[in-house]
Amino acid sequence: MRNDLQIIADWIQQGSKVLDLGCGDGTLLEYLKREKSVSGYGIEIAPEAILGCTQRGVNVIKKDIDQGMSDFREQSFDYVVMSQSLQTMRNTDRALLDMLRIGKEGIISFPNMGYIRGRLQFALKGHMPVTKSLTHTWYETPNIHLCTIKDFENLCKELGIEILERIVVDSEHESRLGMKWFPNLLGKVALYRVRKL
C-alpha cells in the first residue's frame, strides 16, 4: 500500500466506520476492513476503479462527489477520507464542510503547491509546475483547485475547522526532518486529520 495511505490507515481507529471519497480501486478500505475491522463505503466515479473495488469486495457507490453528499446522514461516519482528491473538487470549501457534516473527523491529503521545486519552475522557468506528485500539464489537469499548505490551513481557519494532526511527506511519502521545519517549502504531500469546531 502507498505510504500516504498507510499514514491515513494508522490514524483510523479499530472497528470504526469510514467513508472514502474518491476511493480508487479500494486498496485503503480493503486494508482497513482486513486489518482494523472497519466498515464503510468507497465513493468513485471511474469505471475501472469501481471494478477494482468490486474485485476487492469493497462496498463502492458510483457517485460524483461534486454533486454533493446529501444521501448521507449527519455524523454517520467516524471518518470521512479524501485522499488526493481535494484539488479536483469544483467546490472545495463546500466539499470540506460536507465531509465534516457526515463524518466526526475528516482525513485529507493533497499535493502541496508550495513545494520548492514547483515554486522554482514557476519563478525561474515561467511555466506551471509539473512534478512527481503533479504530473499533468496545465490544460489537461484534473487538479483545478490546487493549494499550498498555508492556503489550506487558512481555509480551515475560515471554515471553523480544527486541525488535529498534520504530516508532511515527500513524493515517496516519507517524512523528513526539513519538512518539519519548512513544511510549505519542502513538503510535497500534506496529510491532515481535522474536525469541525
Binding site: 471494478l51 468490486t54 474485485q55 462496498n59 458510483k62 444521501d71
Partner: protein, 377 residues
Amino acid sequence: MPHTSAHSVGLVKPQVFHCAEPLALSCGKTLDQYTLMFESYGELNADASNAILICHALSGNHHAAGYHREGEKYPGWWDNAIGPGKPIDTDKFFVICCNNIGGCNGSTGPVSTNPDTGNVYGADFPLVTVRDWVNSQRQLMHHLGIQAWAAVTGGSLGGMQALQWSIDYPDELQHCICIASAPNLTAQNIAFNEVARQAITSDPDFCGGHYLLEGKRPASGLRLARMLGHITYLSDDAMGEKFGRKLQRDKIHYDYGSEFQVESYLRYQGDKFVDAFDANTYLLMTKALDYFDPASECDGGLSKALQATKAKYLVMSFTTDWRFQPNRSEEIVSALLDADKDVSYVEVESKSGHDAFLLDIPHYMDVFKAYLQRVEV
C-alpha cells in the same frame, strides 16, 4: 453450433414442480395448488449453498439460458449472463429460474384450467403480487432441498422480486442483486402500464378476459401493448442509431404501410409477441409491477422497510434507462445506506435504455462477474 460453445449451458429441459400446499395471495384469495415450470443450470453442491435464483421480468419466463433444441436460433433471455465462465457462472453456481405464477409458459396462470370450473381461468385468475411470487419461489426452493440462496437476482420486475426476497426472508439469501429496477413505479410508469392494459381490454376480442373460452384472442390489443412497451424499453439514442429515419421501402409512398423502418420493426415485435404471449398474463404482470411498493407497508419509508434485511446488495442501473431511471436505483441505495447495509452501486454507461440489463455490456458484465466471484459458497 452455439449450444456446444464452452460458455453455453447447452441444451436444457424445463422441469415441473407441482406444489400441493395452498398459496395465500395478497389479494385475499388462495391457490389451493399450483405448478411452477422451471429450469436449472449447473450442479447443486453438497451443502446446497451455491444456489442462485433468477427472477424474470414482465414478459420473461423460466427459459433464462441455453437452448431447447439443436439449431435453435435464440438462447434463453439472460444467456449473456448465465453459463460457464459468465457472470452467473454455472461452474460455480446452481442456477434456478422459474416461470412465475400468472405466467403463460407452463406455470399456473390465466391459461391454466381452473379446478373449480373445469374451464380455463382467463379473467378469473386472481391478481398476484411480487410477494406472492416470492412465496411460491420459496416453495420451489424447499422442494429442491435449498435452505437459503447464495444470491437472488433479476432485472426490472425481476429486481423487485430480489428486493422483496431480502425484505421478507432476510435469513434465506446471502446476496441481493437488483438491476435496472425501482422501489416502486412512478405515476408515468403506471400510466404506460395503464395504456397497455386499455389497449388489450378495449380489443373487441378480449371478451371480458374470457377470450379463450370464446375461441378468440385480443391480438391487436396485445400487439399494441407490446409496441408501446417496446418503445419505452429502448432509448431515443438507441432507436436513432438503429433506425434513424431510414425508409422501409425504396421511397415515400404516402400511404399507411410501414414507411419507416422503425414502424416495421415495432409491427414485427408486436406480431412476434402476440404469437408467444397471453393477454391476461400481460395484464396481470403489469398490475404486479404497479402494486410493488415495499415502503408503503412500513411507516417510515424504504430504509425502515430494509432495516431488518441481512443480505449484501449490489444495485445496478443504466444511464439511458428512462423506464427505470438510475435515480430510482439510487433511491434504493440511499435507503440501504441509511439503514447501514452492505451495498455497492454501479451506474453503467449504455445507450440501450432499459433493455441494457439483458445485453452483453463489458463493464456491466465485468462488475457482475467480479461481484459473484467473491460470493462464498
